[in-house]
């Protein structure tokens, strides 16, 4: 990414079952918070990341709807859609818009999803529409079902136990307990996970994200403009998007996420950083095994050894590579199209030193990975304190 983009404002709503609120209500609240954080500037564009509002809420065209609701006059309104990577993809597109330099005013980005308008089985069905219908959706398999295949293969090939892997869900819940916007802000134990209902052998219910509603928003601007709006803007050092084979069975090795590997490589190169110079990581751990694979694809662990970082607790707050510092998909929650922007909001909190009990001491650089499904598209962003330059 040439040029410099920074975040001048960030805001989000608590992830949860917002029975009495619409997708628009949630998006508007997050946006108003982000705009207020940036000093209520006039914006020239709004980007909305959303996975499935037509199917979930019988409401399309969210970007125009949001611009109208926020009384943003004569702005560009763009909706971005890539399943549960929609949020980070909207952030990426907004970065490009900032860099295009067609105006000085900042740009609003909002990821939003209101899932609980439908029952869980329907939500599971809709989630599978982000996959290749021919090879995946039509077979009737679900995301946890696919994760079960990966988990079994991972355990058999690398000698990890399920207990080793789900230590990631335990880590996430522990961190969520200190996160004010988390859906599940309480700790859980490995035993509780192993005793929870079986979803798809060996995946247990407490190893999967629940369905939750949420919205998270950011105000982006060219770096100097962001600095004018906010005393402590957060830099976006890199924003990379890479698509990959949708069906992991068709990948050279199913236990890989090539889209993440390539996006992370490009992002770290753009930021001029080695992965071990990153202070914390927000990962897209659909289930624990995906977190283990992500640690390997990022280069934090050798192939087949990601589970060791997890089971040895080296991903905890205060340990070597803090992961999911605000709870990740499991603890903070996974409102599909909003997850990517939640990760960005959380990076802002860490890098401004506003993460409270979950603060990563001296955090200067953070990396977020948001993907669709199991890697059909990966978005990697590298965020940094204002003082850090690429």
């Amino acid at each position: 990414m040439r040029g410099q983009v920074a975040i001048a404002g960030a805001g989000c709503v608590k992830v949860g079952e917002h029975w009495e609120r619409s997708a628009l209500d949630l998006a508007a609240e997050a946006c108003l918070k982000a705009l207020e954080d940036a000093g209520n500037p006039r914006v020239r564009a709004v980007y909305v990341g959303n996975a499935a509002s037509e199917l979930l809420n019988e409401q399309g065209n969210l970007a125009s709807l949001l611009a109208d609701a926020l009384a943003l006059e004569s702005v560009k309104a763009v909706e971005v859609r890539a399943g549960d990577a929609s949020g980070a993809l909207a952030l990426h597109q907004a970065c490009l818009d900032v860099l295009a330099g067609v105006g000085r005013e900042p740009i609003l980005v909002c990821g939003v999803e209101k899932i609980t308008d439908v029952l869980a089985p329907e939500a599971e069905r809709i989630q599978m529409l982000f996959e290749d219908a021919r090879s995946t959706f039509h077979s009737g398999v679900t995301i946890p079902g696919l994760c079960a295949l990966l988990t079994r293969l991972y355990m058999e090939r690398y000698g990890a136990s399920y207990e080793d892997l789900v230590a990631l869900a335990v880590n996430d819940h522990k961190n969520a307990a200190g996160c004010p916007h988390a859906q599940f802000p309480f700790p859980i134990t490995v035993e509780a996970i192993l005793n929870s209902p079986l979803v798809a052998d060996p995946i247990r219910l407490l190893d999967t994200p629940g369905f939750g509603d949420g919205a998270a928003a950011l105000v982006l601007a060219e770096a100097d403009e962001a600095r004018r709006l906010n005393d402590s803007p957060v830099r976006i050092l890199a924003s990379e998007v890479v698509a990959g084979r949708m069906n992991f069975c068709e990948r050279e090795d199913p236990l890989t996420i090539p889209s993440l590997r390539e996006a992370a490589k490009r992002a770290l190169a753009a930021a001029g950083l080695g992965v071990k110079e990153v202070d914390f990581f927000e990962l897209h751990n659909t289930t624990s095994v995906v977190g283990a694979l992500a640690l390997e694809e990022l280069g934090l662990a050798e192939r087949g050894e990601g589970w060791k970082l997890i089971s040895e607790g080296r991903i905890a707050l205060g340990a070597d590579w803090p992961v999911n510092t605000m709870g990740g998909l499991k603890g903070r929650g996974h409102p599909w199209g909003a997850t990517g922007t939640y990760q960005a909001v959380e990076a802002v909190l860490q890098l401004r030193g506003e993460a409270g009990k979950n603060q990563v001491n001296g955090a200067e650089v953070g990396l977020a990975h948001n993907m669709c499904g199991l890697g059909s598209v990966s978005c990697v962003h590298v965020f940094a304190r204002w003082e850090v330059k690429a």
């Binding site: 079952e17 029975w19 009495e20 029952l119 219910l205």
Partner: protein, 348 residues
């Protein structure tokens, strides 16, 4: 809500069918290995039973305890969502079978699981106003659960009957007050002509059950100037084991106070019979002077809250009919195949 003249319960009775199916047996049918089953087992109406026979059994026991001439009963109301006839009253069937006279006000009530306690309130009003000497309220159901649906584990059969009269030495408990709370909340419904209800998953919890139960209970306590500590026993509607315990916690009521009336783990959710049966089971153990909180819940949605104070007559009248516990102990297990036959799920 309080009647102008004090009203109490002159007789009560509960009834639970003999058949049980274990939740694990239903789970075995549908590939649920047993994690997180909502109850242990549920009561199933036999092939020769329906809601009216259950109502009759409970009413018979209520009459035995009431020691009154059945002809003095001026009204009978049955609350249920499993009426054998869509059009034809159930109350008249039960009244005739009981030998209650024909100068009778009879009506069937429907408000999902709280139809039984609505009948309480109508009876209290009729007796308190002097329009009836005695009035009988029954909550009974043979509840429907779609095969493989979450509700199939809990939808059960059972009922309880209460005869109300003016407060006297013959009443086993008197009504201190009642309070209702109702909104248009579509958490669970069954449209006309459909065999099984539908529900909106987790929406049935916080915005539905808990909101209505807790609001009605708090308002009742506020109106009576009572706090959670003033109640010796509490009965909440019991759709599963977790909900009533959580409601008690939210209201600051010790879960020990729920124990005698918490029947759902062993008989399931008897819908309109649920909180009335819980009250009957609590009266089976309560002492004179004890105060009982009862809060029903009906989807759609609403709650009726009551405060009852137990009187001396309980000691003498309690042994006149079998306690609810006797029906819990009396059971025959059936497998899923027999359950399918008993509940008419096979087309012949």
């Amino acid at each position: 809500m309080k009647p102008i003249r004090p009203v109490g319960i002159v007789g009560y009775g509960g009834y639970v069918p003999i058949y049980r199916i274990k939740a694990s047996e239903i789970g075995r049918m549908w590939g649920n290995e047993g994690c997180g089953l909502p109850i242990v087992e549920k009561a199933v109406a036999g092939p020769d039973e329906d809601m009216t026979t259950i109502a009759y059994e409970a009413a018979r026991y209520a009459l035995m305890r009431a020691r009154i001439d059945p002809h003095e009963i001026g009204a009978i109301f049955i609350g249920s969502e499993s009426k054998p006839y869509a059009v034809k009253p159930s109350g008249t069937i039960v009244a005739e079978a009981l030998g209650i006279g024909s100068h009778l006000l009879a009506a069937d009530y429907e408000f999902a699981c709280k139809a039984g306690t609505e009948a309480f309130q109508t009876c209290i009003g009729l007796v308190g106003s002097g329009m009836a000497k005695y009035a009988m309220a029954i909550g009974a159901d043979t509840a429907q659960g779609r095969p493989a649906d979450d509700l199939e584990y809990t939808a059960a059969s059972g009922g309880a009957a209460f005869i109300f009269g003016l407060k006297s030495d013959e009443t086993v408990a008197y009504v201190e007050g009642s309070c209702s709370y109702a909104t248009d909340t579509a958490d669970f419904w069954r449209r006309a002509g459909q065999p099984y209800p539908r529900h909106f998953g987790r929406f049935t919890g916080k915005p539905a059950y808990f909101r209505h139960v807790v609001t009605a209970a708090k308002k009742l306590m506020e109106e009576l100037g009572l706090g959670p500590e003033d109640f010796d026993w509490a009965v909440f509607h019991q759709p599963n084991t977790k909900f009533p315990l959580k409601a008690a916690k939210m209201l600051g009521i010790d879960k020990k106070k729920l124990e005698p009336g918490l029947l759902v783990p062993y008989i399931g959710n008897t819908y309109s019979g649920s909180s009335p049966l819980g009250l009957a089971a609590t009266l089976d153990v309560a002492q004179p002077g004890d105060r009982i909180l009862v809060v029903s819940y009906g989807s759609g949605a609403g709650s009726d809250a009551f405060s009852f104070v137990v009187q001396d007559a309980i000691e003498e009248k309690r042994p006149l009919a079998p306690p609810v516990k006797a029906f819990l102990a009396r059971k025959k297990y059936i497998d899923y195949a027999a359950y399918v036959r008993f509940r008419g799920k096979l087309l012949k």
